[in-house]
């Protein structure tokens, strides 16, 4: 032993233990997750209640429709509204950019729940005034209020995405197009946008996912979306599977979207791969 130590110049590295600590911890954690998943599965099977399912499954489906239409309308309305805001943010005029900045800061700096309350309960409290203007039918409905608040909110985020994407395109592209005599709008559409969309796709996808998740908030202002129906089901049955089912539906939706966005991104950046 002493001889081998004296001439131990380059001993081979010790063989890796079959169970290094990282693997033990990793297996333990995966085991925990598996146990957790199996536990939920077992609970759902154990607590399987045909009456519950028959009663609330159609409601959930209707709720899903409400959620999806809320998000779709808000996303589109927000996209339209984000155009002037992004224009304002990029404009050289102090007043315009200041106004746009304040708009974005307000809607990104306050919770969406507060904004939703502010629209539904806050604006809704001016009933006589709204009735004289003829807007009461709009602010009376919780769904419309939700759409209104969500559109304003997502417009602020989308304006920032749009601005970031457009500003990520080097100025030389604008100048090159201008030197070819292209009109500004034309440059934007034919030169800038195709490059900006690649940058903007992922943030837009994230914003869509955030909106789907945030849309659960409207359940609190009495809209019967997916979450709203889950709340109703729980209030009637005191059965926690009401929330487990709704969690699974949201999770599946978000995962589909996330992978969809990744797929599109791979498709449109195919020419950039080497």
């Amino acid at each position: 032993m002493s001889v081998s130590q004296a001439i131990a110049v380059d001993r081979p590295p010790p063989l890796a233990r079959f169970w290094p600590r990282a693997r033990i911890v990793g297996y333990a954690l995966v085991g925990l997750w598996t146990l957790f998943g199996l536990g939920i599965l077992a609970y759902l099977i154990f607590a399987w209640n045909a009456a519950f399912f028959a009663r609330y499954a159609p409601a959930y489906l209707r709720g899903l429709g409400t959620t999806l239409s809320l998000v779709a309308i808000s996303m589109v309305a927000g996209a339209i509204l984000s155009l002037p805001v992004a224009y304002g943010r990029m404009s050289k005029s102090r007043i315009l950019s200041g106004l746009a900045y304040c708009y974005v800061y307000f809607f990104r700096g306050t919770p969406l729940l507060v904004q939703t309350y502010l629209v539904y309960y806050g604006i809704g409290s001016f009933r006589p005034e709204l009735q004289t203007v003829g807007l009461w039918w709009f602010f009376r409905e919780a769904f419309y209020c939700g759409v209104f608040a969500f559109s304003l909110n997502t417009a602020a985020y989308q304006a920032e995405i749009l601005r970031g994407a457009i500003e990520s395109v080097p100025r030389g592209q604008w100048e090159g197009a201008a030197s070819l005599g292209l009109h500004k709008l034309h440059t934007l559409r034919k030169v800038i946008m195709p490059q900006a969309i690649i940058v903007a796709l992922r943030p837009y996808g994230n914003e869509l996912i955030l909106m789907i998740k945030a849309s659960a908030i409207v359940a609190i202002i009495t809209v019967y979306d997916l979450m709203g129906n889950a709340k109703l089901a729980y209030a009637n049955s005191f059965d926690i599977q009401a929330y487990i089912w709704v969690a699974i539906v949201y999770l599946v939706m978000v995962e589909i979207l996330r992978h969809g966005v990744e797929w599109i991104e791979r498709r449109i950046t195919i020419h950039l791969k080497r």
Partner: protein
Amino acid sequence: MPAQSIWTLLSWGPDGWIDDIASGVLVTIALALATLPIGLTIGFFVAFAKQQEEPSLRLAANIYTTVFRGLPELVTLFLFFFGMPLLLQHLIRLFWPEATVDVNGFIAGMIVLSLIFSSYASEVFLSAFRAIHKGQYEGGYAIGLSKWQTMRLVILPQLLRIAFPGLENCWLSLLKDTSLVSVVNLAETLRNASVAARVTKHAFLFYSVAALVFLLLAILSSIATGYILRSLGRREAR
């Protein structure tokens, strides 16, 4: 109901509501500050696990972020708030059949916000990990530092500096997410504003006050993070 002036409503004392809202603001800040260290720690370890070679660790960390980033915050909150007492009760009743469990709104909110915050912070940490060159680890090992020492003395200081702007965003969304805990009746800013709005019928006024509070908190934290960022920058190697 006699018409009260806005200024009476917004005064301090028995007629006004500002004292209630101020106590709510304290709860909001306490909740966010209590969540921050837990969330940062979990987020760091999740990111650490994600960039290990061991596939099982990566899998476990990926499931974590997928679940807590995929679930709406509100659903996570309700699941915990209503599900946890149920689970705990079943577990405790195995030993003490008479026991009942009541979950504190603050604790439930703290746990849920930590889960959400950490899954977002882990992404920030992960990209910061990837921005640190391999040579930094090798240099640490070369001068005889252990793995843990290298992490603490060489990697972590750089990691925090790189991750800071991303973590600032996580903090701002954490501040906003605290408002969700109002739906399980924790007396924080929004909850107290709602009570005031319902009692006084001045909904627009009190929700505006709540919005202003959150704006103010955001402005204050961006001033604070500006300071921290500058001091971090000063400590950068010259």
